[in-house]
Symmetry: C2
Subunit: 195 residues, 2 copies
């Protein structure tokens, strides 16, 4: 990033969140976002394909973090422990300042079918990254896909709790607890006699 644009991406995100909240996503232009951030339109388009991508700037980092998290697991780790490594890595990408940003992004996404679609693609890309890395590790795409779905659900549901009622706890703990709760719920649903 050029020296005269410190944290251009973060400034563009804050500007976009302000403008989308004030005047709506549809009505806001990339030029307005750039101006609000004290940057040029050209700078915005150097970082992002369009105004929508300003909101989803975390995706590529999360995808590579998920992959790296799976690879970081010890050689003798169980499949579940490998998944936990990926979730810990994803959770460690976030600092509490992102709770407010997460809430604001969610509120804007809720206003736009286009943004909801983009959010579904983001989630799918993280799930695919976890599934692909797990499949390499386990040598079998089936358990990899199912575990990736479980992990990504735990990550998203845990993140939602962390941006809400569980804001005071470490994100990784909330996510891993959610994973355990999902596994217990599945087990009980599949074998009601044990519930």
């Amino acid at each position: 990033m050029a020296r005269w644009e410190p944290d251009a991406r973060g400034r563009l995100l804050q500007a976009a969140l302000d403008l989308f909240a004030d005047q709506g996503y549809e009505a806001t232009t990339a030029a307005e976002i750039a101006a609000r951030a004290g940057l040029t339109r050209t700078t915005l388009f150097r970082h992002f394909a369009d105004k929508r991508e300003v909101l989803f700037q975390g995706q590529s980092t999360l995808v590579s973090t998920a992959t790296a998290g799976v690879r970081s697991a010890p050689a003798d780790a169980s499949a579940l422990e490998v998944l936990r490594c990926a979730l810990r890595a994803l959770a460690d990408e976030h600092v509490p300042a992102q709770q407010e940003i997460g809430r604001r992004i969610d509120a804007i996404v809720a206003t736009s079918p286009e943004l909801q679609e983009r959010a579904a693609a983001k989630r799918a890309s993280i799930a695919a990254a976890v599934a692909d890395a797990l499949a390499l590790r386990l040598g079998d795409p089936r358990p990899a896909g199912v575990l990736a779905d479980l992990g990504v659900r735990a990550y998203y549901d845990g993140f939602a709790a962390w941006t809400g009622p569980r804001a005071g706890e470490p994100l990784a703990a909330v996510v891993l607890e959610e994973l355990a709760a999902l596994l217990a719920a599945l087990s009980a649903a599949l074998d009601p006699a044990d519930a």
Copy 2:
């Protein structure tokens, strides 16, 4: 649908598949698709918001079918049996003629990030429909979400097998077998001693 436009949606799909394959998704206009289908541009836009939606016309039916499938399960059905009812209902929406259409849609989606994103949103909408209906049924969103992920993965992976090497089998059988395989793979991954 008006009498002078029999199967306008199906004709537009075939025209779109032909044109997207011949000249690419980006290069094809809605007007060209309509003309190829022997219809007007106005007719296309009466049915679809844009050329992209022509390819995803099955989504709303699949979403309502998934919901209806869950609701159709007997009152005393287990959670897994309820999920199987939803998958049977989804599978019953398809006839073998759709194998070729499915292959052609997949080939075009693979050429375009925009279409891949839209496809992720379609899958998420079906998963959300199953999850919401199951949550009502089970009274708990956690097992509902996990089972919905499993079911939708079985549906997609089963569908892919059915448009390929398992084209001669009933789709429902392929999907339910995939669901059983996913559950077995998960069980083995979670408890390696049993594998």
